[in-house]
């Protein structure tokens, strides 16, 4: 059971970063974003696009990508592209919907349509087959109680550092305060001189950048697939709900818990020979949490009905 702990932490960091992004967006805009998974996949696909050496069929470039940038640079560029994509979504789609007073449920359905649309764009024009980042293979090593490759350990540390910095920014900067103000009441914050449109735009950008980062992590740990975001989306919802939707710290902890639960449940006695069903365990836990403590571990009661 313990040997799965390392895998659990790695799945946990992916879900955690993605959950923080989803939770931030939900907190400020009240949008349950089903297209979140597609932004995650965009991070991975763009990194592949910027970094891949010859002989990959990525985007419209037939057969090879001529870029072949350094991997770290590619990651940064990919995260920036994700941020721009988030801004594009907000400006071209969600801002007009908000101004047109389209209700939450309609927007939720729109994000589902968007998710299906973008996902199949990836399938058709980006990467129809499973691909790996151009990184050399590494051997697993033992750190304390868990086994993982040095690169994955770096991913874990980088993810935690990014989330801590993000949490710090959200708590202590003017921008973070403004975000939380818009989250609590868009009208009241407008009255106090906060430009809520700008804040929501910045929220979309930062949420999308975090999501893109989560996608890069997922691709480093596993691989790049066109539907990688959708495969993990429900686990991200589970992490967000477990921690308390709308709370960043909760989403971070909830994401790790879900990741560890999913991987450790493989070692449970009744799960023997049923490893395919491991995601069902996490989803069942999410449903139970919603029933008995719908505000999650760290959420506040007023957020639920």
């Amino acid at each position: 059971m313990l040997d799965q702990l390392g895998n659990g932490l790695l799945l946990g960091i992916i879900i955690s970063v993605a959950s923080v992004a989803l939770s931030l967006l939900y907190g400020v805009t009240r949008i349950v974003n089903f297209a979140h998974g597609e932004i995650i996949a965009l991070g991975a696909i763009m990194t592949l696009f910027f970094s891949s050496p010859v002989d990959y069929r990525v985007l419209f470039l037939d057969k090879y990508s001529p870029l072949g940038y350094n991997f770290a640079l590619s990651c940064i560029l990919a995260v920036i592209v994700c941020g721009l994509f988030g801004a594009l979504l907000e400006i071209c789609l969600f801002r007009p919907l908000r101004k047109g007073n389209v209700g939450n449920i309609a927007v939720l359905v729109v994000t589902i349509g968007l998710s299906i649309f973008i996902r199949h764009l990836y399938l058709l024009f980006a990467t129809g087959k499973v691909q790996d980042f151009p990184l050399e293979l590494q051997r697993r090593q033992t750190y304390l109680f868990f086994d993982m490759t040095p690169r994955n350990l770096n991913v874990l540390i980088a993810g935690i550092v990014v989330m801590l910095i993000f949490g710090f920014l959200l708590t202590y900067t003017r921008l973070g305060k403004a975000m939380r103000a818009v989250r609590d009441s868009e009208e009241l914050s407008s009255v106090s001189g906060i430009n809520s449109d700008n804040i929501i735009l910045i929220t979309w950008i930062s949420s999308s950048m975090l999501a893109g980062l989560a996608g890069i992590f997922q691709a480093i740990i596993n691989d790049v697939r066109w539907n990688m975001g959708f495969l993990i989306l429900l686990l991200i919802f589970a992490g967000t709900v477990l921690g308390g939707i709308g709370t960043s710290f909760g989403a971070m902890v909830g994401g790790f818990l879900i990741g560890i639960l999913v991987q450790v449940s493989v070692g449970l006695p009744f799960m023997e020979g049923h490893t395919e069903a491991k995601n069902a365990v996490a989803l069942a836990i999410m449903i139970l949490i919603l029933l008995f403590r719908p505000q999650g571990i760290f959420g506040q009661k007023e957020r639920i009905s």
């Binding site: 449920i105 309609a106 359905v109 729109v110 349509g113 764009l121 069903a277 719908p294």
Partner: protein, 351 residues
């Protein structure tokens, strides 16, 4: 009954899309049309069930595929079939109609089971819970290989329905070059739609139907009138799930072999697209929506061949889903009431 312009427009559009099938396919149009109408009937039925959930009661159900799946699996397992890697044969079983009724009741029961806890949740949470429950169902079915055949699925069950195929279907199919078994499934699907629509029309005008719509409009008011809003929601969940169960069984008979991959979330989204296209909250809307939707779906294969020279199966499916996604988005943004729906009857905001 007064026939509205909207209704005429829907009929016209449906007729036009059927005409398009003939215009675009000089050869074999009738065979394509049969295939398309069979799918349209089955998915339309499912969308009618979803409309009871979302359109009538305002329940945001994104796990519709699981209700279809429960109906299909329970019915098939109760009848003679073969399942699993080795194709293990179960030669005894209930007659089709008994198994079907148990299947539909199981789907309704699953609706109740899922509804009981989920009903207390607010709209967007309900969406997440239902989609998660549907995934749990699918993962479990895939895992319980000894009963459901797991990834290998269930086969050799179509005879259970086909043995009742009347003779006139055979003669009719022969003269038109149809597959008689599909023609029979198609007929059964559309007869089911007819009865479901008649049944729902009656319900809709009954005090029960009015109470249901009142739940959607204002739950507190329903409570104040002494009605049990939670029980009403649960009844709606069961009714819609039962209808979905029936459509799931028909889907299984149309495919000829049943695998868990049928019941992925995308199936639910197909049904959502049909419901929105036809008109949320209407009874007959999904029928028109379904036919138009399937004409779009089956004729856009050409688009795939324009985009890619030798489009493979993955690319064909990709282009289809691309359009489904676009359709859902565009409808929800520009015409959320679809063909027949009334804008004031739409539930678009979280209560």
């Amino acid at each position: 009954m007064k026939i509205s312009n909207k209704f005429l427009f829907a009929v016209f559009l449906t007729g036009f899309s059927i005409y398009l099938v003939f215009a675009l396919n000089p050869e074999g149009a009738s065979r394509i049309l049969l295939n398309l109408l069979t799918f349209a009937g089955i998915y339309g039925l499912s969308a009618i069930g979803l409309n009871v959930h979302f359109g009538w009661t305002g329940l945001l159900n994104f796990g519709h595929a699981s209700f279809m799946g429960v109906g299909a699996y329970v019915t098939l397992i109760l009848m003679p079939h073969a399942a699993g890697r080795e194709g293990e044969i179960t030669s005894t079983g209930l007659p089709f109609i008994v198994a079907l009724i148990i299947g539909i009741l199981s789907a309704a029961l699953f609706g109740l089971l899922l509804g009981l806890p989920a009903i207390r949740l607010r709209g967007d949470y309900l969406a997440i819970v239902t989609i998660a429950a549907a995934e749990i169902f699918r993962l479990l079915v895939r895992d319980l290989e000894s009963i459901t055949g797991g990834v290998y699925g269930i086969i050799n069950y179509t005879e259970n329905l086909q043995q009742y195929r009347p003779n006139f279907i055979n003669n009719f199919s022969e003269s038109l070059g149809f597959s008689p078994s599909q023609a029979w499934v198609c007929l059964v699907a559309w007869v089911s739609i007819l009865f479901t629509v008649l049944f729902l029309k009656r319900l809709n005008n009954s005090p029960w139907g009015r109470a249901l719509r009142a739940v959607r409009e204002d739950e507190d008011a329903v409570r104040a009138m002494g009605k049990n809003a939670v029980w009403l929601k649960l009844q709606s969940f069961m009714l819609g799930a039962g209808i979905a169960g029936l459509s799931g069984v028909l889907l299984a008979f149309n495919y000829g072999s049943l695998e868990t991959t049928v019941f992925v979330p995308l199936l639910t989204f197909y049904v959502w697209a049909i419901m929105i296209l036809g008109g949320v909250g209407t009874i007959t809307g999904p029928i028109f929506g379904s036919i138009i939707f399937w004409v779009i779906i089956s004729e856009t294969d050409r688009l795939a061949f324009i985009l890619f020279e030798n489009a493979n199966g993955q690319q064909l499916a990709g282009v289809r889903f691309l359009l489904v996604g676009l359709l859902i988005m565009a409808l929800m943004i520009f015409r959320p009431s679809g063909l027949l729906g009334k804008k004031e009857e739409l539930l678009l905001d979280v209560k």
